[in-house]
Symmetry: D3
Subunit: 223 residues, 6 copies
């Protein structure tokens, strides 16, 4: 991937400010990537959280006793975050453990990471909201992970929210949900997304003045 | 149904301003209509959304390839909305497709519709909130419906949120959930709801000053 | 239990102001009480609700006809609330009935109760929020309980949110979820929670300045 | 209901021998009773079990401590079974308790009852099969009900498998599932079922010799 | 697809007699087709049912009123079955309708079809077993489809049991579950399956005489 | 644990022949161990399978790519089975992978193991039935585990079917389900089970001759 770090920062800032997730989903559809939207169970933990960055993956499994070393693999996963990364954690939709919290958010932000996406539970939601560190999760649970969940790998492909995520894929989430943008199409997808935003503006104006959806769809081809 | 259009507008404005859903549910109970409250999976997509109007129904099924004509039936369902209608869409609780979004909200509002209720997913939540167009749904998913869901009928009875909804029934939703008011009892139900609101005010006052619930219930018969 | 009533008031006010649920969960873990956090299905019904008090339990079962006496056992359960109590109701995760609402909240507050936790549905969410009476539940449904749910006992141990709750246990809930503090360890748990809060402040500062999580964890032993 | 006991015995023996559940479901459909088939979660616990009789209902709720009197209400429910009754128990799909077993089957058979239908778990499946006492349930669990489930009523209407069952309704179950035949239509339903069985035989013969389904359906109106 | 009809008959008879589903799943894995096994919710409705043939697909949606023409699309789907076809029906895991029964089985067999796979409910299980017509489904429900489910398409790709099935793909099911064999790899997959069966026989012999799994796996590379 | 190996063999043969799971569940209840019965999702994969032995535990997690070494930990878990062991595998109720099959059954039997209990899917059900090697699982899926599930530990406590299982605990399963007998009470539990079996015989005789359940329960105290 030829994109350099500073470009990523500019790109992700631009996406966060100007694009939105549903338009990226539409252009990925048209590029033939139709299984890139995570399922609806993963939600932002505070209103208006937006996340965009490159996936840094982790895999956690439920455990049922306190291991001799409960945290080392998790610490390694977090300490290896780089600027513009987003932690993407697969817990197999665990309802037992809690993968993320305030101190991990503080650590991740200090490494330059831009957010976290977990197909499981998190905690410390108010403090994370105060930090404005965007976290997406399936729910809240106030427990520590030690003896409940164990990181078994990081940096491997994972399925999170029903989508296969490779390390380095762009993940993008807002109030509508999350999409995963494969690296091979990221430039084309983002270019097309810019164009589609403009097209929707024109359709919206015609619909607001009372045109039939039938006519507007025939005119612009968007819905 | 003798109610004329202007009366509907006044009625629905009044209901939205002065009544609430739980009191309608209670009077429907007493009129013998005890299965009129939708289940708890359908929620307003933004805080304090209130919807009231006559049901205009649609039925959508999951599909697994791009049809030759993905949108025509959906466009017909939306373009046939009339003033004071509420779109009520049954998707069989689909977690695959996304039935509703901003452009459909814009279209529906331009036709005079008062909201949308979907037993499935929607998108563009922030823009819909900015429009203050009340939408109730089971969740958010950022995908387009083309090749995922297909409208197969509109204007037929559907089960939405566990309740059989006939076209023309009044649907009423607020932060507590949704009720469907069958047309044969709508006048009596609304009259009784007005009276019950007054009764609850008196009970509340007595409870606030510390009376036992036992005594207040014996006094007013409300809980 | 030697704790007197005024002490409970002071203690619960302090906990509500200074402590949080996840830190109590952690100290209970270390005291060997690892199954004290309710599952993630029970949520505060309005933002920033915090509840703390002694459990006053009730058990409700779904019913399918209007009983001759629909409310007496429920009224007895509510009228027996004492100052600093929190109503903890097990409905077996009913999706049929609605256990709690505004008038019950008004009654409970008039008795000095501090909140309600229900593993089922409630209604009147906006009015309860206006009262700032903290209620935690699995969802909202606008129906009355008569003929849908029936209180069959109060003051007995119940499992609520997956945790066995004995009458008199301290229950504590905030935006991260809920923990149940068994009476035998309540003093030690609260003392340790105070200390842990301080420890996390130091760790947070080190992480904010960019220290590796590995080093900070080795230094303070918290995550 | 004028049907006398001996007639019931003859009727139920005939139904068990000559009719089947799906044909009863079809004639109930045509009589306008379209919600009489239980959902697919309740299954015969041994192959080829067939049950038919009049519903004797019970309602059980999950409990979380050993009550002072765990069995009295359950014993009363069983001891009040009469000849040709079928025990229909609603447990709210409990996965905690186990409502039925071998000794209850022995008791029920000694009272002349013809079977049991439980929307929950049972045990002693092999011994019940040896008795050839038809039991339908959602699963098997080897636990005793004491301290797990408590009978709170018998002889009241219950919803079992999604269908409202009144005491005295005929319940009929075979390998395809279960239907509830309301008392007001039982004579007409059974008469029509006899006729429909004959019609299906003719259609089957034509289909077996290779006629198109289109033609056979047009000829006999059955599918 | 160059395979002629008589070859299909011979091939499917051979597969039914000599191969099994799990070995096909393994060779598809090795050919890079790793998402070809349906999920575990679809089961044979009688013991030892085995199905193999080419998929003839249908799509059904739940409906909530009796349509003017309830059966025509379904009849067309069934009457278009050809020899060696297997009906593969997607109902979106409907728990409301019942897609298949004895008369449809009779019709399908008369057309030369080899079985049916439904991600929903069926009925007439005992008569279908007597016919030895292999049907796989998620459960049994004794209802007619009219007014409950409606066929909206046939001959299109569908997702059934979590797997995308194209018309003409070989579907193969036994007591272990179901796999879908894409047409482009069917010849290679079946050749490799024959070889793998032989390899497993050698490994089994070594394991039976007590060799360590470690050694046998190193020797033959199968598990 | 003083019990020697030959005693275990004799004990487990006796239990398999003379005792049954529900009676063990009852005596564990009375000894104060009330959470020892697994949930109803784990079933014998063939009729009349009975398993009894000492738990040898394994923990598997879902994975989403082919690991460099897919089988080593699994092989180690299986090769370390000793005579009279039963493999108890926790997969977190995986619906993706398949933990067990014929070759593992062959290996386990060659090591002297008496069966396998998996809270996930297995395959090769017919061949395992031919071996009469008792396997209990949540379902059947025809896939290989490589790249779908990975063993991460063996010999640690696991939660399987909702019950905490320690290595060396006796696990006992039949057609009614499964119980875990903690080592500290195994001798007393088995002694009491022998006595209870006799008591039930007397109660059954009295019930068969028509005594009321009320009287028989008062006489023998069993239900």
């Amino acid at each position: 991937m030829a994109t350099i770090q500073t470009t990523d920062t500019e790109l992700f800032d631009f996406m966060q400010r100007e694009l939105y997730v549903s338009v990226l989903s539409d252009v990925l559809d048209r590029l033939g990537y139709r299984e890139q939207a995570m399922d609806a169970t993963i939600r932002p933990i505070y209103t208006d959280a937006i996340v965009v960055g490159r996936a840094h993956t982790a895999l956690s499994t439920d455990v049922y006793e306190m291991p001799s070393d409960a945290y080392s693999a998790e610490i390694a996963a977090i300490d290896s975050l780089r600027p513009n990364d987003v932690l993407v954690a697969a817990t197999n939709h665990s309802t037992r453990t809690c993968f993320w919290g305030e101190l991990l958010s503080t650590t991740a932000r200090a490494r330059g990471a831009r957010g976290a996406i977990i197909d499981g539970h998190v905690r410390d939601v108010r403090r994370i909201e105060q930090m404005q560190f965007p976290v997406f999760a399936t729910g809240l649970r106030p427990v520590d992970s030690a003896g409940r969940g164990l990181v078994v790998a990081h940096g491997t492909p994972v399925i999170c929210g029903g989508v296969l995520v490779h390390p380095g894929d762009i993940v993008f989430g807002d109030s509508d949900g999350l999409v995963v943008i494969p690296q091979v199409v990221e430039q084309e997808a983002i270019e097309r997304a810019k164009e589609k935003v403009a097209g929707e503006d024109r359709a919206r104006q015609d619909l607001e003045r009372g045109d039939l959806l039938r006519d507007v769809y025939d005119r612009y081809g968007v819905l």
